[in-house]
Amino acid sequence: MPVDLARAKELFLAALDVPAPERAALLERACGDDHELRRRIEAMLQTHENSGELLPRAPSAMLAEGGVAVGGMTDGGVTDAGATAAFPQQSQPVTRVDATSSDADGLSFLSPASTPGHLGRLGHYEVQEVIGKGGFGVVLKAFDERLHRVVAIKVLSPAYAASGSARKRFIREARAAAAVKNEHVVGIHDVQEDAQPPYLVMECIDGISLQDKLDRHGPLEVKEMLRIGMQIAEGLAAAHKQGLVHRDIKPSNILLENGVERVKITYFGLARAVDDASVTQSGVVAGTPMYMSPEQAEGLPVDHRSDLFSLGTVLYALCTGHSPFRASGTHAVLKRVIDASPRPIREVNNEIPEWLSDIIGQLHAKKSEERFQTAREVAELLGQRLAAVQAGREVPSVRRGSAAAAAERDKDIRSGVSAESGDPGDPGDPRRAVAVGQRRIPGTALAAVAVLILVPLYVSFVLRPERFSGHGWPWLIGAFGLAALLAGFLLLVQSRRRRIAGALAGILAGLVLSSPFVYRSLTDQGTLTYSGTIDANIERILIKRDGEVVADLITKHGTIQLPAGDYEAEITVKDGYELAKYRVGPFSHLANTPGALGWQKAAGGTFPLTLTRDFHVGISLELAKTIDRSYTPKTEPGWVQLFNGKDHKEWDFIGPYWKVADGTLRTTQNLSVGWLHTKRDYADFELELEYRLAPGAKSAVFLRGWLQGDIHGSEFLAIQLIDDWASGMIGKLNGTASIVDVVAAKQRVDTKPKSWHMLAIKVQGRRIQVVHDGVRAQDVNLDDYPEALKRIPGLTKKTGRIGLQNFGTLAEFRNIRIKELSPEKPAWVQLFNGKDLTGWTPHARLPNNWKVENGILVGRSPNSYLFRDGFGKSFHLRAETRINDGGYGAIIVHTSSELRSNNSPFGCWASINSTEKSGYKTGVLSCVYLNWPVFRGAVEKLPRPNEWFVLDVLSQDGLITVKVDGKNTSQVDIGGRGGGSNHIALGVGNQGSVVEFKSIAFKELPAKPATGTSGTRN
């Protein structure tokens, strides 16, 4: 019974009026037996304790959700640098466009969409929606049909495209950003500068901008600010390394990827190579005034340090919620940027620590030479501070000073040597500031410098090769199984301040082995394994200094004291493995930013390692399995080499895209898509090959492909191969070992660039199995994906070429071998569901006299036919049927809905007849086609009326056989006739006929019959 609202209101308000302890008694009295009411009031009183609003956020803020932030989306506000105005008085906001409003305006350059509901096409991009609009043009969300990924496309508006300088700037943005490959910079995939209008294709970031975040949440927490600031600095460092200055660093140009909140810098619209003097001298002010540097505001030449000033302003805004240079009007803003000292941060937000305020202060130095000098330096400093904050340690304040002093000081902090000069003498000595700062650390007197080792994290994979049933699936030699191991060390460093006269002075770093610590597995199937302290496949981790071993982390348990300083780590791994990657950094930083951050490729088993008292140092290691290169060709019967390492005689080339070199079949990297395919068709087979991709590369193995037209993986069965680490965000449907566009790999498999991987594919009917480096990645029946079968007609092909894809990136293949399989025995498929006529169609011009009664399909006079299509040349039909006395019916094969003059279909009729009338007895086969006489089979048996019997009709490449209760009754070879007539039909005759079917089953047959006999042909 629903609770009466008026009563509930009265009681609730009454309860509020009495003190809480008395409420129970009140409710007891008032509610009596109405437990429902009482429960409701109690619940309401409980929720009343929580003040607050009904909506989690201000409704206007909620509106912002759901948009997809994209590179360039928020870059309104800047007009064409070549136009007359320096920049507009009022920025021109980008208007978010409702995805549902079909905004056809201004999209006339799109060609018609190939999928309903989409906006149109641009090249091989299917445009799904408009994400943003602004003065420059539009940003579209689109699907790249070649690379199978969602992209953002920025299209220069036709009005701007006409302007040479706008066009130039647009192209410049693309080139500038494309040159920077960094995970904190929005990637540029492609630029079509000659297109009308020109457009650039970039990574589509699902997330919001930093400005959005700031608007919604106000000032950020210190930790988060450091995390974001560090990543911006890292992105800038990468750009600066390319000689590029971004020139428009501001919160709306910083995107935060959903979920991970990875920072991505976007909009390199103003970026310029530093030596590109022609534009810098134009005197045109471009950029957003509130985040400009003083030199930008003054129109002076700028270098990378200009971005650092802007970064300072961004950090200031993150601390306070707004830019420090707010003013009414552009000129007032510029003036403030040039002259005014920002209001001290701690006056605005006293939660900001002094050292952070100092860092921002140094970024905000009006003279660029007084700022930090490199973004790298800032990134490192912020990383260290982040580590310290996360470890809950107090951070020494950084005094303002000259950049050189700061750099030196910073170096000291990193190496930890500064504490040695702890003589409290010269107050101007920046190192003293550090020492003083250190003194504030609680517990410093304890003075143990510890290094914790965090051990191995996990081993993912997969050394156990799996076997396909019934076949000698090989041990996966050469498999680069992903063996990933992450090990972390914690170096806990504290300074020992007590002086020990005449003894060792200085800092000691301690190394402590600790219990295993887990953070993240790289793969979905990762099994976390600890083997005591370290992964079993690591034999030795030696820490060396100046070539001498100072610690052995495997054998040495307990505490090792090591002075802070520079060391070398030497990793020895078991045979069959190699150290693939490592990263070293503040432990908490590693632990909190899992993923690809900071990984370095290992060259040999050693790498440098700096221990410091400043933070815990962590190391992550990743092992890879080495390849057994001694591949021996299969000798088992049935296996055939498809590539001999020398020539491509088994393969046909399309285009100049492939070559044979160094024993591999490899793509030529001419940035064109083309594929290589076998000289003949293969239907069911096992295929094995080894492949190797260059970093960032992609390829695919096409199965049962065909030859016409422009070939895409989305057109037929294809197994994806891709370096998805480099590609960053790709959907699971496009990961290595996925069936392109149909099924994601069952487990994540990891393609490591520059390493050989083993791919094994088994294709049998609609069943597809894929094993990648021993990981069983696919075992699917395509019939379970009816939507995909409909969408991708190529999936239904039973045979075709095997192809390898050139995607304009380097892919190599070797040891390609194949074993053909005989098709699997197909299973019976029931064509009548026992309920209704689903799947069957009456003839459009004839009455439908078919019904389902008590689970039986019944046809009654007068003449009527039920059709069903989709039958090939070879199949077997089996019906359980009966006929009334005097009636007649038929199963007709190789027919179509085309009718003869007497309104009966052409085709091969297997008669169901209880009389000998007209000679069409049960089991007789009458084959009727245009210009082809009627043939009849021999009659051997006539079943009795109203008795169930089994009627088989087999078609094997034109040879039609009829059986009654298992006995052959007739056979006719119709040759090629009836080709194209892919229907079957059920027929009922006139004159009171009633034909019934209990079941009608179907299965496919191999193309040719094993034996052909007794065909009678008149």
């Binding site: 008026a6 308000l13 309401m44 929720t47 201000a58 206007s60 980008v94 589509c204 919604r216």
Partner: protein
Amino acid sequence: MPSHEVTQLLDAVTRGAAHAAEQLLPLVYEELRRLAAGYLDCENPGHTLQPTALVHEAYLRLVGGEASAEWQGRSHFLATAALAMRHVLIDNARRKRRDKHGGDRQRVELVDQPDPATDEDERLLALDEALTRLANADAAAAELVQLHTFGGLSVEEAGKQLGLSRATAYRQWAFARAWLRCEIGDPRQ
């Protein structure tokens, strides 16, 4: 939309012409939507955008600066704006839900994480339905919620619009909030 038309409509609403309110709603709706989208996308030096600010700006834009001093139709406009804001939000949430269940076939997943936005949308839609039900039984309470939650007025201001004393307004709000939270299964119970 010429501002005098809006002014006339507001006058008509003030005089009690029901059809005028109907005509006014779509105008306010559009304006709010436009403003919200613009605000949230462009750089905004301020902090969080308050709905009242949005409503005031919509009013200024629709009615014009001169008229705003003599804000004759203020309360009617606020009521209309609150309803419009509710519609804007609900439409937005519905669209997102539709998109989510529709063919967003290439959703990129980096990590499996619950989508807080979805929860928020579902909650918003549930609140909308519950509020409609509440309006049938207790129109005054529902109107107060609408003005406060969607119109951005404080409880007191919203009460004033409805001619309620401060104490009554808070009691209405306390009841309506508790009732609605129970109706939508608020996790904070």
